[in-house]
Amino acid sequence: MVTTEKPYKVVGTRPIRPDGTDKVTGRANYGADIRLPGMLYGRVKRSPIAHGTIKRIDASKALALAGVRAVMTAEDLPRKGRREFAPLGSVKISLATLSGNVMARDKVRYEGHAVAAVCATDPHIAEDALELIEVEYEELPPVLHADEAMLASAPLIDEALHTREMATGESAEEPSNVAMHFVAEMGDVEAGFAEADVVLERTFKTQMVHQGYIEPHNATAFWRQDGGLEIWCSTQATFVMRDHLAGLLEHPVSQIRVTPQEIGGGFGGKISVYLEPLAAVLSRKTGKPVKMTLTRDEVFRATGPTSGTAIRVKLGAKRDGTLVAAAGELVYEAGAFPGSPVAAGVRCIFTAHAIPNQRIDGYDVLVNKPKVQPYRAPGAPAACFATDSVMDELAERLDLDPIALRLKNAAVEGTRSADGAAFGVIGSRDCLEAIRNSPHYRSELQGPNRGRGVAHGYWYNAGLESSAYASVNSDGTVALVLGSPDIGGTRASIAMQLAETLGIAAERVIPQVVDTDSVGFTSVTGGSRTAFAGGWAAHEAGLDLRQQLAARAAKIWGVEAEQVRYRDDAVIVGPAGEDGGERSITFTELAAKLASTGGMIVGRADSNHASAAPTFATHLVDVEVDPETGKVEVLRYTAAQDVGTAIHPSYVEGQIQGGVSQGVGWALNEEYRFDEKGRMENASFLDYRMPTALDLPMIETVLVEVPNPGHPYGVRGVGEVPIVPPLAAVANAVHAATGHRFTELPISPGAVLEKLLPGED
């Protein structure tokens, strides 16, 4: 359901995606599909323990196995200092962290941490060789929970790590497992709570969860004899990959070319390097191309989950529901190296609501678990789970409708958040009202053990750099060259914006995603930025083409360029000719004449706009809880979201439905389980248990369109915010069904039965 009519011809329609046929016929080439002459196969030797010192690595037996060509360890990578950085979007990342996670040096920090890599002529031989690499460890006690990691008596994961106060930039004197402490403050929080009639304070806990992309990580490298390094891989960020490799390998960016293959999902987890530097070093050692792929077990143990969290939320409200104060403390597990998304959690935790007095503390805490990576709206879902669970309890306490309470406190244009920014035009109220007016909310939920829940979430979205080249073909089509790996339909959504600008059919723009030598710098496919920034670059390339096409028509007609204009219907018009009629030529006619009138033309753009606009989402869910088994079934789900402008509504709906599905999994089943030594107990899809088609109903979407005034087509970005509200919405629905509040996720059958069974409190 789309709520508005738009003045566009292409934007808002539903053409078939340009890469679709290859993807439904099996012809699309994903990273693992590559095959090069003489290619070797690489595998990674991993730590079986969560914390320990590496005493010795002996690869001699592996190297003696027929077919094995090379082994590498951290000794083959340059040692990087803590103060050496590589760019990552608008921030930077420590090369010591990147390098240390790619391959353990001296010490292993989590089970699955890479300690060596081997390549051989056949994948089975490479696998055999793993067992022949001998590694001797001295085990150290693992630190598995953030609360114990924060104690002064906790074993140190990194002896050189000192807590950094982000407000002052100062570091603590004593080493600690707490990497960073963030504070955001607004108004007077003590005075705010003093004037509250009701104050609720609750603590929440979530476990690490994985992005769960179906395609395992992969990388193929060929280090040419002239020093050129070729990388083929599934990445969300070809240029970030290139820059990080340059830093890790101390090799010039101009000597590295990253060619993106089709990517089988990422959700934030395929931005960081893992296999690429290892494959590169093995290729350098052997002079052959080396392909490496992870197993699913390795994906779980050694690639990016998002943080487990402990969050305390305190809300104060007047009797009429007006929020007057909020305090939050967010403790996020970073895994084995610094870098949890706690800063984003701090930024998002109260921002969907207008609260004048706030104090938020965030802690980035090391534990002996895999280093976390971004996961769809990183940091926000757990924060929303905490805040909107308390909001639900507040509504109950004050006998208010949960949407009425949120509407009373909804952030609006001009509302300031704790990070100091004031909102521009936003659709927060619109989403709440769309749910309040939905057939789902107006229906009555009947039957025993059933409950309905609502939650309201916020995400800020990113801008960053994108480039585009657009060249006109003689048949009236346009070849569009992009640098953003297409993870879920962005070829379509970007091409459609160029088509709209030129006034031609979507099918006449032919997009290609190319390597890092073939297009201008383009940042990560992530942060809900690709349709926003890529579309803007394509639009600007289209404006460039319009100008050049008008100039060409002027030249053909022998008039001044200023007398000619490119109309939105793809007709170029000029002053009256000798016959008295207005001169005109269509885009298609002119395209056919370009070669004979001065040559073909290319439009280009590099854009870097900071006007990405925030998005809000309100979710409504009905559940039924089976009192015998504890299983929670999702009966009905409606998600309203301010999408700015829906470029291709089907793929916008798909983003929302996918985010809901991941959020429902997070709420009900998904979690990393570790034994007492820090070994993951459920590193398979069967045991990790993501939602299947049987676990979900159809997911109804309401596309609320409040265009972003800072974008030519009003785009806000849509991919991330749909995962923010489901955790709280489901927990609130389960409370309505059972009378029990679940402050810990997942709300698995076992957790439900523990609350429901008599005498088991």
Partner: protein, 165 residues
């Protein structure tokens, strides 16, 4: 030098996508490894290599199987249909067209498995209800779509789906 344990090659004969052929495989190859690495049918995807995700779904002698759970040596004399054998020279299979029309894919890596599985469903049950589709496809994982548009596409291909919104 130690001899590599897994270096013995075997010749396997099978009919793959209606074409009889012989291929050389390692005796330790799964059907998935043989299809991808030895024959080049890389439309068959690996997501888990233990039968959990369904990305490598193929039809083996009329039965739906995960190619990662079958040894290459076992398929001697068998008929196998992979995603590469679903479309004909005349064009896409109605399921493939429905997946495109309904935007039933995002990253697309699970799509081959879903289409092969859905074809096997429609072969035995040409007019499934939504619940039938969800039950049949419960062995295929998708992390992008929330399954909504996939289920709709299968219903549409069967001609029973309501018009997608």
């Amino acid at each position: 030098m130690r001899a590599a344990a897994g270096s013995r090659r075997i010749v396997v004969g099978a009919t793959i996508n209606d074409e009889p052929q012989e291929f050389l495989a390692d005796e330790r190859d799964s059907l998935l490894e043989a299809l991808r690495e030895r024959i080049g049918l890389t439309g068959v995807k690996e997501g888990c290599n233990n039968g959990n995700c369904g990305a490598c779904t193929v039809i083996l002698d009329g039965r739906l199987v995960c190619a990662c759970l079958v040894m290459a040596a076992e398929v001697e004399g068998s008929a196998i249909t992979t995603i590469e054998g679903i479309a004909s020279s005349e064009g896409l299979h109605p399921l493939q067209q429905a997946f495109l029309d309904d935007a039933a894919l995002q990253c697309g890596v699970c799509t081959p498995g879903f289409i092969v599985a859905a074809k096997a469903l429609l072969d035995v049950n040409p007019h499934p209800a939504e619940d039938d589709v969800r039950l049949w496809l419960a062995g295929n994982l998708c992390r992008c779509t929330g399954y909504d548009k996939i289920v709709q596409a299968v219903l549409d291909a069967a001609g029973d789906g309501k018009e997608s919104a």
